[in-house]
Symmetry: C2
């Protein structure tokens, strides 16, 4: 059996996460038992939710155990199988974790899913046609539920979720405004991802300045906000939200490293009769089929062509992950493992 390199969570962050929280080890992959499948990972997905799992505190999911392989989504190919539904060469998506190989129980529902790479590149199943894409779909379709002509804002616009959100919202006739860090990302959002406008939050460091920028980009106010960040950006958008507007809360990345960030003016929830709802996409398996179908179609039609930032080799994962938390990636952050 091949040697498998793994990255474990070695210790929990004190404040900011660092590379010293992780540990690289090598192990032999075990012999397969009946019903098991050996998958060689081609790509590992890096996502902000992983930072939350590194803490011990109460969250929606159990913390990542110390000394175990970091959790993470993977795509790859079956290299050996003792399960009748999987054959060597099959392309599969799973939660293989931060390692080069994984042994999967083929009978566990949802643990391993075969995918078709005829029209959709394999790596997209970790992004636009995977969990981030379905995340955008759920927040937009099930919580924001926009009408044609409404304005939808998304923070972290050029990430995997934001890219998918833009395509999905444009398909529904919305004005879509992104928020991203830096002129390059903003230009990309407008020129490549189909955003109607994009606000560079690095140019607007106060609540008043950010709120003014939102007003200029959203002349009819904001009807829906897909929130990935929290803090000042969210406060500024809230000041421009219309009556009966909706916020889908998908992430609060700015608060992960330290004390919780406050919401400056919750009275706006009442004044504007807003709805704010948090969600975790993995809790809504009933929408995945419909969502992935629409997302795959948008990719095949060329209406959704997300950017990827690809780090090379498992050993590059910790640095790439810390960069993701600081917004250094551009589009979906992946680690190529072959």
């Amino acid at each position: 059996m091949p040697t498998n390199r793994q990255i474990l969570l070695d210790n929990r962050p004190q404040g900011e996460a660092t590379v010293s929280n992780f540990k690289l080890v090598s192990v032999q992959t075990p012999d397969l038992q009946d019903g098991q499948v050996l998958v060689r990972h081609h790509y590992l997905s890096l996502d902000p939710y992983m930072r939350g799992r590194m803490n011990e505190s109460k969250s929606y999911a159990a913390p990542q155990p110390l000394g175990e392989v970091m959790i993470g989504g993977t795509v790859g190919e079956v290299v050996e199988s003792r399960h009748p539904k999987f054959q060597p060469g099959d392309r599969v998506v799973g939660m293989g974790g931060w390692q080069e190989y994984s042994v999967v129980n083929g009978n566990e529902p949802g643990a391993l899913r075969k995918v078709d790479t005829t029209h959709v590149p394999l790596s997209y199943y970790l992004g636009a046609v995977g969990m981030p894409g379905v995340t955008a779909w759920y927040g937009l379709v099930k919580i924001i539920a926009p009408k044609a002509g409404e304005t939808v804002v998304v923070s972290a616009a050029t990430g995997a979720v934001g890219s998918a959100l833009a395509a999905l919202a444009k398909a529904r006739g919305c004005r879509v405004v992104g928020i991203a860090g830096g002129a390059e990302k903003c230009a990309y959002a407008v020129n490549e991802l189909g955003f109607d406008a994009c606000i560079d939050y690095k140019q607007h460091t106060t609540l008043a300045a950010m709120s003014k920028a939102v007003k200029e980009a959203c002349p009819n106010g904001v009807d829906g906000l897909f929130e990935n960040v929290g803090g000042l950006v969210m406060d500024a958008v809230m000041l421009r939200m219309n009556a009966f507007s909706r916020i889908a809360v998908c992430g609060m990345i700015a608060g992960y490293d330290g004390a919780p960030l406050a919401m400056a003016n919750p009275a706006l929830i009442l004044v504007n009769r807003m709805k704010i709802q948090g969600f975790i996409v993995s809790e809504h398996p009933e929408v995945w089929g419909e969502a992935l179908n629409e997302l795959g179609t948008l990719v095949a039609q060329g209406k959704l062509h997300p950017r990827e930032t690809v780090a090379q080799g498992l050993e590059a994962a910790p640095e790439a992950f810390l960069g993701l938390l600081k917004g250094k990636n551009f589009g979906k952050q992946l680690v190529k493992l072959i």
Copy 2:
């Protein structure tokens, strides 16, 4: 025609509202024109929303104009009518304002509604079987939507909204926990209004202490919060809310007088996949019939017998209103005008 005393908004509050913001005047009631009805008010309702109208700032409703009669709900009797649907002696509910008489256009939809006082005292149509009662009904039934066995918390428990909410939630098999100011109010909530427990917020002045009190009163956590106050109390309850819990935001009284109060930890919205929704009951006329029917039945069955605090005479209205804003009333605050 009789003399009519009125209270006008004379000037806007600078910070806290004071009696000097109001002005008492006397005018003659005008002769009726075709379609008009003259109503003598028996009771004027005082409600927290009036404080918001005194400001000039953007809110969900237009500000109260200076120099005009303060807005307010009233019950009374028809004393003269030039409209075929209304006869002298009819008991009616309307938005007559802070004055002893009002002239109402009988053709305006919803402006004047005849009520039956056989089983429900006239004043209750301003409280439990009126706007506050429907407010409790909408937030509980349409936003919190509790299942039997769930725990629902309401701040301002002994007010008109809180009283109705307790009866409505008990009728749905919930554990109902109130929050009120002082031992007397808390005892009343439990002994008379049917609350399972009531927390005296004056005994718990820090977030940690209040949160501990909520934990003790809600051993299974909190599934629904009907929020009338905001600030520290809301922050403390949020720390005890369960996955998929709901907050109906009806009031943020603590923020009316000054800077907006922050929400300490909005990341809980994501962690617990919460839904928070603000609402204004007057925007949901479609529920009033069903809600008033249930509330009137609960009163007739003796399951809802709210307390009233009654000030005597129009001239007492400003002081009574300022007392309401400070929580000095006990139950529904009314002004008796006859």
